[in-house]
């Protein structure tokens, strides 16, 4: 048996405790143990961005971290973007509205990267949007609608204030 390491991670606002082997990647723990399957696994070596999550508020690739490294940290997955009443967030709704997704494989990573951008830069330029999602590959949309969706979300969030 591989040695197990105790961890406690705040995932989407809830403290989650577990025993994990050192080599278990963070994304595999989130998906296979916590059943948070919104986060997708693409390339498993840090190229595609499908597994992006927020670690302590900043987007990182969860295939490039071991779950044991997240001990004591705060993780936000795409499930954590929902509003408190379970409705889609403004950003998620804007992706639907602007046709920012087709097959949906890259979408969780796109949402995490875009949300992290909007959290720090409420009114981003197109260049800033493209930079923020530069590490997320999409093979369907050609990116145009995704950029439009983030712009739309920024407008809607500004109008709400």
């Amino acid at each position: 048996m591989e040695k197990l390491y105790p961890i406690t991670v705040e995932v989407n606002g809830k403290q989650r405790a577990a025993q994990v082997p050192a080599r278990l990647s963070l994304v595999d723990w989130l998906r296979d143990e916590l059943r948070l399957t919104g986060t997708h696994v693409g390339c498993e070596h840090g190229i595609c961005g499908a597994c992006s999550i927020m670690l302590d508020g900043d987007p990182v690739r969860s295939c490039l971290m071991f779950a044991v490294q997240a001990d004591g940290h705060r993780v936000t997955t795409v499930e954590g973007l929902l509003q408190a009443d379970g409705k889609l967030s403004v950003l998620q709704d804007s992706f639907c509205e602007a046709h920012g997704l087709q097959c949906g494989y890259c979408t969780p990573g796109m949402l995490i990267s875009s949300q992290a951008l909007l959290d720090k830069t409420p009114n981003p330029s197109e260049e800033q949007i493209r930079d923020a999602i530069g590490g997320n590959l999409c093979r369907c949309t050609g990116y145009k609608q995704i950029v439009d969706a983030v712009k739309l979300a920024a407008q809607r969030l500004a109008a709400k204030k």
């Binding site: 080599r23 990647s25 070596h45 840090g46 900043d58 990182v60 295939c63 071991f66």
Partner: protein
């Protein structure tokens, strides 16, 4: 695409890291941001028996500006360094290099020291370190030593760091001349990829616009990033006209021994090297002329 099994230890101090390395340096690998190490482990290109995690060591995360050096802790995140305006004023080449490194998700996790000890021949930060001859502070249980970038890089993914040593901090020389400028560029298939060729330069000028100090280098043209101090010295005293610049960058490109692959032939890489190095020397000169 899953790592082989390993033991894990989270170190809370530099002394603890040195202790782990003394006990089993050959089988122990330090993990900082993990943005290069974890893919290599996933592909089973490396299978360390033990990972010692240095991410929680506060003493390895700092940017300290001194008169002659900007000191950066080895485990300082690339995003933190890139956002540091005071540092960008003192050593602008670091931010210029970081703007080409990976993506926001990898810079949020990746560290400055990790990039240097990983020593990818086409990586940006090792090139910046070579051009400025950054000084690297290596620590072991037995003590510490300082190695200049010129001696630090040995080959692809190989440095002079011994199995019982860790990188503690990097000291980036500050150019105190009133008129100085720097520039960094690269050509890659997509922004954020490793460079086919990267070029960096830094220039200081006197009041008449004559060069008083010059440094430039190239990455992607061989097994390590290279600086060309002897060629750069030929620029001192000139006004950095096109002839002076083209002559040294031609010689630099000729000295390279780039490999060829499906992305670019050796000849194309050499051509790029000469063009990009000249372009960066001119850009650094123009930056210095504005001051």
């Amino acid at each position: 695409m899953k790592s082989a099994a390993f033991e894990y230890a989270r170190a809370s101090s530099i002394a603890e890291v040195c202790d782990w390395l003394r006990k089993g340096g050959d089988e122990t690998k330090l993990i900082a941001g993990g943005q290069s190490l974890v893919p290599m482990m996933a592909m089973r290109l490396t299978r360390p028996a033990r990972l010692v995690d240095i991410n929680e060591i506060a003493a390895l995360k700092f940017v300290a500006l001194e008169k002659d050096y900007a000191r950066i802790g080895a485990c300082t995140r690339q995003c933190v360094v890139a956002a540091d305006n005071a540092l960008a004023k003192q050593v602008p080449l670091i931010r210029q290099a970081l703007s080409w490194v990976g993506h926001s998700q990898t810079r949020n996790r990746g560290t400055v020291g990790g990039s240097l000890v990983h020593a990818d021949p086409a990586a940006e930060l090792p090139l910046a370190a070579q051009v400025l001859d950054a000084q690297l502070l290596l620590r072991s249980h037995a003590g510490s030593r300082i190695v200049g970038a010129a001696e630090f890089f040995e080959g692809p993914l190989a440095t002079v760091t011994r199995a019982d040593e860790c990188l503690e901090e990097i000291r980036w020389p500050v150019w105190t001349e009133k008129r100085s400028g720097s520039a960094f560029t690269e050509v890659s298939r997509r922004h954020g990829d490793f460079a086919l060729v990267a070029a960096a330069a830094q220039i200081a000028l006197d009041a008449d616009g004559r060069c008083t100090r010059a440094a430039f280098g190239l990455a992607g043209g061989g097994s390590i990033p290279m600086a060309f101090p002897a060629l750069a010295a030929q620029l001192v005293g000139s006004t950095l006209d096109d002839d002076a610049i083209n002559s040294v960058t031609h010689d630099a490109a000729t000295a390279l021994d780039p490999g060829g692959d499906l992305h670019a032939s050796p000849g194309y890489r050499k051509q790029l090297a000469a063009v990009l190095a000249a372009r960066m020397l001119r850009a650094a000169r123009d930056e210095a002329l504005k001051q």
